[in-house]
């Protein structure tokens, strides 16, 4: 399940522009974002990272949707795998804007959750 921090309307707009064939939930009050301990951008970490292209991508609209100045540019992403009892099997919290784990690593975590 994909979650963004926009409003429901912005989420619908984003999904349409990205032509995502799956639903996207939203967390405009950051309930989950805070509960799952996701990070906020640190300028020092960002400058020191090789994976620091995310801010430019956000502003340039490289991903199809250009972030506006009323949006939280400091938010960072993350991935979690939960089993059917809600036990956490995998955690990744991005420390810089463009930090993503290899797809194979995430998929392996998903595979481990399957019976």
């Amino acid at each position: 399940m994909v979650v963004g921090l926009g409003t429901p309307a912005k989420t619908a707009e984003f999904r349409a522009e990205m032509q995502a064939p799956f639903p996207i939930l939203c967390d405009p009050k950051k309930n989950g974002y805070k509960a799952y301990g996701l990070e906020k951008l640190s300028v020092l970490r960002e400058i020191g990272s090789r994976e620091n292209r995310g801010l430019g991508q956000s502003r340039s609209g490289e991903y199809g949707v250009k972030a506006s100045l009323d949006q939280d540019m400091a938010q960072l992403g993350g991935s979690f795998v939960l089993d059917t009892e809600g036990t956490i099997l995998y955690v990744h919290r991005a420390a810089v804007t463009s930090e993503n784990k290899p797809t194979a690593e995430v998929l392996a975590a998903v595979a481990s959750s399957l019976p």
Partner: protein, 45 residues
């Protein structure tokens, strides 16, 4: 990063989120059906 954040083996928070229509949804409604990959994305919000 602080050390008190959720980690592997702990219970996931059952937070309330919204769908595109604004209807509230409970995260546990998803993980009870099948294992859940939860991905928080950047770029808007």
């Amino acid at each position: 990063m602080s050390d008190d954040k959720l980690t592997v083996g702990e219970q996931a928070p059952d937070v309330t989120l919204k769908d595109e229509t604004g209807a509230e949804v409970q995260l546990s409604d998803y993980w009870r059906k099948q294992p859940l990959l939860l991905v928080y994305i950047r770029h808007f919000g």
